[in-house]
Symmetry: T
Subunit: 154 residues, 12 copies
């Protein structure tokens, strides 16, 4: 009998619904839909299930994070610019007991000064920054492997 497949959740924050349209020189020309297809394919390859959510609203994102443990064993979050000031989202991430990888498509360190402050970062497991939409796939791989190792360890 097969083990149930691992479930992962990918949450995107403000303005990521515009991916592919907004400043393609910075964020690439791939739409969020295309990124999700790529992630679904990678999940398939890794034997995981991946679900997706996006919101432009801090409050809804907090609730998506609160609800994450019921939906998934690991969380990927691209918080958009909330990364730079949303201590409320930080507290939400600190409150849930899940491994979290924060993803930024562009290299935030090579842009405006304010993007160097990453207020969620101290409470996530790790970060993938500046590697484009591929960064989500890497985060997925990281979480999948982490969960495998954890289970094998138990």
């Amino acid at each position: 009998m097969n083990a149930p497949r691992r479930r992962l959740l990918v949450i995107d924050g403000p303005n990521l619904d515009l991916l592919g349209e907004r400043e393609p020189g910075v964020y690439g020309a791939e739409t969020l839909e295309a990124v999700r297809l790529r992630l679904a394919a990678a999940a398939e390859r890794l034997g995981c299930e991946v679900s997706f959510a996006q919101s432009n609203d801090e409050g809804q994102l907090i609730e998506l994070v609160h609800g994450a443990p019921a939906r998934a064993e690991g969380l990927i979050i691209n918080p958009g610019a909330l990364a730079h000031y949303s201590y409320s989202l930080r507290d939400a991430l600190a409150a849930v007991d899940l491994p979290v990888v924060e993803v930024h498509i562009s290299n935030v360190f090579a842009r405006e000064e304010f993007r160097r402050q990453l207020v969620l970062a101290p409470v996530v497991s790790g970060l993938v920054i500046g590697l484009g939409a591929e960064g989500y796939v890497l985060a997925l791989e990281a979480l999948a492997r982490h969960l495998s190792r954890r289970d094998q360890g138990s």
Copy 2:
């Protein structure tokens, strides 16, 4: 004939719906529901009516504050981490003509550096910090007594 009972409103901000579950070492093991029962009992004892609202959403919290004067003569707010950056919530509090007590369950000064910045504090009447869920009860007592004195003064 009896005087109408005083009405007070308690507003809780982001992540306080998780009270009792989230980092109990920091915030205690009592749930928000239990805190509200404790507050209702205290209100009863003080001859007040207390109503409650919670939201994880800054926009909704602003509207709860806007609506507060229609529902209450005094306001208790635990803004969660919005305390540290939400100038919009600050402006909402400054806009309504109500006594406001800001409550923080944990001692924000004994935690991360960013929690020492309290951007709502300059526009509230007072603050109760680090006294646990009991802090809400103290705030309730403070408001009830304040309103009594104000009315006796008129």
Copy 3:
């Protein structure tokens, strides 16, 4: 045959629904409704159509900005206190390809220190600050003239 009329959109942020009630010494006694009437009259005079939106919610404001290109050729935004910290709203404004004028009713430089930080300002076209509700009208005129010149240039 007449040219289609230019469409402009005016977005107001947190607490501006209280205009006229809130701190009239700072923001004036005119309500948002009255300001809109004044703007509609000015738009009429300038041969434009103007539509309006207000929200106390950062997430909804971001979506209003995302939807602006479908509704208008130019955008006026009074972000309220979000002007001082909402990098998410900034990213939304940077993402849409519209001329934007940021309006502040009061002179933010003559008030609290935190109001001197204007995080949206680097991505808008221009700002009108401290000229009261009249500032919206000036912004409307600026956009109308800008669009005229642009079209005449083409």
Copy 4:
């Protein structure tokens, strides 16, 4: 047989001997003597004994804190302006094994910038700020209830 009554100590720091005379617009018109009577009445009501000390001298305040465990089970301290720079008083508070509530009569966050730095705060249990002389009573209640719960827990 009755349990011995709980003993609490209230220490006031520099300039609080002038209470009622000094800047009544900021600190209220009630004298320290009147506040103490109010506190004694509240203590009576709570079944506690309360004793009082005031000094304008950092060194004496440190010694009052050192001596507190011999006199009381809980400590209320209004450090006056020492709150903003006295790391020696902070070390004294950290050295004694007592629950401590720091009280400020006025809302220090609504005054000069320097009053936003609270150097004792990280080592106290909690703070009551800006609630006037009533703040002492609230602190007393907080300590009395805390000690009750602690003992019932044992």
Copy 5:
């Protein structure tokens, strides 16, 4: 009998004599002379008289401001880079009892860091920033309408 026409004064500071020549990508290709003609036309339309002065010298600008009440009922000033450090010019503006609108042709917030400090701004009535040479016209309209309302109010 006609009311005397309103008089307004437009003062330009350092380097604005080079308008149209200097960095046209930043400041536009219109010369100061052309801007003045545009302003004179707008003044005509608004039933005002407008006079002009320009100096590269802080001392002369201070004296132009001192003399403004004798020449005009309202003042438009583009202080050039003095906006960022001339506390003497600020004191001059604060000393005269005239409504003042500060104009910046380019969006100072989208340029070098030092241009974000606007030391005159706290003492002017309002600012028009980043709307090109048209900003002067908007300032003129703002002042003209302000003076009309003021007089109608009396």
Copy 6:
């Protein structure tokens, strides 16, 4: 009949008892005793009485300030290095209703960086800095003339 003579009080803070011995290159070779004789002579000349106090102890200085209104109509204070951090002494000075002149013998702006922060200065009437022991005499003259004008005004 003669008017009673004006009484002034001169308070010296930490280390000023060493005047004349301590770093004479910085503070001059005149002892505190000699300075007081000079001041007494000046007071005589001005028709005032002057009394003196010195303490190395912040607490005693606060109490000297508290007691000043009972002893004098004007206060001269050389706070020594307490000028740079004693917010408690500041609060004491703010609490008493007396004209106060702060004196520093050496030019504090020409010495270490920390001496540029003068935390009492915002609550005193004026300051005399860097003019040597003569600064006390000037402060005395300033106060004497101020009191004369005030009384003549009444």
Copy 7:
């Protein structure tokens, strides 16, 4: 035979020509002319000659300072707001070999934050701050006595 009278020079900087008109709540109602008469009388009493200069122009003030040694043995300067940023005027003062007293009519420490930076102060002999127009007279006395002592010492 009489010794030649000591000559002193009083230089006033930007906006001090408006003394008595400008913000009398801050600077008093006495005009610069009246202050000069008062100073001349004091000089007469002290057996000095005093001459006066005022300019709103940093460049002219620098040249007045350069020329001071030819006109006077001591210099009193009220630099107005140049005190807060004119490193050029500072260098001029450092370059001339004269005792200099810097005067500020108002208490700059009790006003805006930027007025706490005094960039000339490290190169002057001393400062008289916040003692009103009387401060000039005190500075005159200080310089006169300093020069007397210096000459008696030689």
Copy 8:
């Protein structure tokens, strides 16, 4: 005929030779040797060749970076603590025309304040932070895929 295999270079900086021994709670118990084996296996799987270098010396690391284009098409660098101050290493990375991924084993944002400054980050392509030794593998995959896409694009 087979295409030549892609070559990648992994450079480790100061103290990474101690991996597995040094603070295993922070950096994990796996040695650098073991990490390299894991990387070699991953490279094999991805059809790449990977070579390795480690140095505790900034100068040698600069030369390793200079020599990288001759050895590899992509570079992975874990700069250790040089990440926080070595502007020389930054200039070396900026000077070579290679895609670079910076790896940190631990989450530098969750540690000491100084580790939040990442001075190389603005000149690298992307970063993988806090994902343990697995981070190197992810970086390898990122580079391998990037190079594939680049070549397919040509």
Copy 9:
């Protein structure tokens, strides 16, 4: 005939009377009495006499320092937390002509941020930090050897 024995003075500041009781994890379990015995023994061994003083009061500590030259040829001071803000104590130390060694029992650099500011340090001869109570003995040895060398040099 024997030379008179060298006399050294050890001054301890606020809270050091609690040594051995207060936070033994930080300061060790040895009491101040025990440390003094250890120091007396070391002094005996080095042929010195050592005397001791402790105060929790800044003012008394200043006077102990003033009196030190009459009692000793060298001074050891553990200023407790006064090290971080007492510019008055600093001035006292600068005023006396004695070699001074500042001792801190714990490693102040490994604790809270505020303990990294050492305001007395620039005026002492040297510091011994973080070496426990043994640090006093080392300071004693340093002073004894320094005085020996100095005398042998004369």
Copy 10:
């Protein structure tokens, strides 16, 4: 036929008219006249013509810069202390299309902290600092060679 000689302009700012008199320990004993003779000789040697201007007035310096392209192909400027705050002079230099070398006689980095801020530097071609009056000659050589290379390149 000979090519016309290259023309260069040397502008000196505030206080440089005092060269040779003012703080010779810092600026050397050579007068501005002597420096100019040295420069003229060097220009002769390099086949250039050099003209000179000096002003203590920011406004005149701005106009000298504006007029420079009509007089010269290259500009040497010693801005004196304006280097540290004159953003107006910076804008003037940025506005003219000439190679500019900024010269400082003394090593500004070895003096007061404020001299480390060089606000013109980002818009000049290069700087020669701390090499005495010889620095002007080096700047002249740099410009002469730069212009030669530029012309040979065309």
Copy 11:
């Protein structure tokens, strides 16, 4: 039978090879060789063996620290100016499990501002600062006694 002698290692960083030649007013006239002889004598007296290393190279110093546990039971390090920025050396010290005493010959707090930042200090056991070359001897004594106590405790 004798216990094996304790081994201690003394590492000196950049520029300490110049000891005795370099700025003898700051660092004394004793050469590093002489200091080592003094240390060897002290070690002999304390029954220890001491070995020495010096390097001007951060990389070599890191490797010396890595190798220290194989050579010694305690480490004395004078990091020279690396103390102020070498986070790599800090990590090396944190990685080895040895008691470490950091020595500075001069009083770094009495010199340039940048020397007040001690980045290694949080990870060493203790520091001896400003006590000259004797500081090494004190550090040796401290380590020797520490190791004795540790062993006696086991």
Copy 12:
């Protein structure tokens, strides 16, 4: 008989071995070899001997500086990015008794913020910045003339 020729040493720091290859838009297309030939020619013309050294290693650079007095009478150093943080190299330069000119090829003030901090600058004689490779030649001329004047002065 001829005087021996003056010897000068030119030291280049990290990444300058890449000159001509690395970011030619910033540093020019001339290689280090070419620059050295140009310098040798200039030296020949000036009757000097010039030798060269380059290293990417801070430690080697320190030793090159230590050895400089044995090889040369004057030193030219382009420290590369070590200019911005290497306090060790600064101490080395301060330790040797040679005139030193620091050269930067590009205008460091027109680049990233971090390049504005020049930590070696306070201990060198002078700087030539932003004048390209020609800056080395100017530095050579400056040193040659300085040494000539020095010798003629002796």
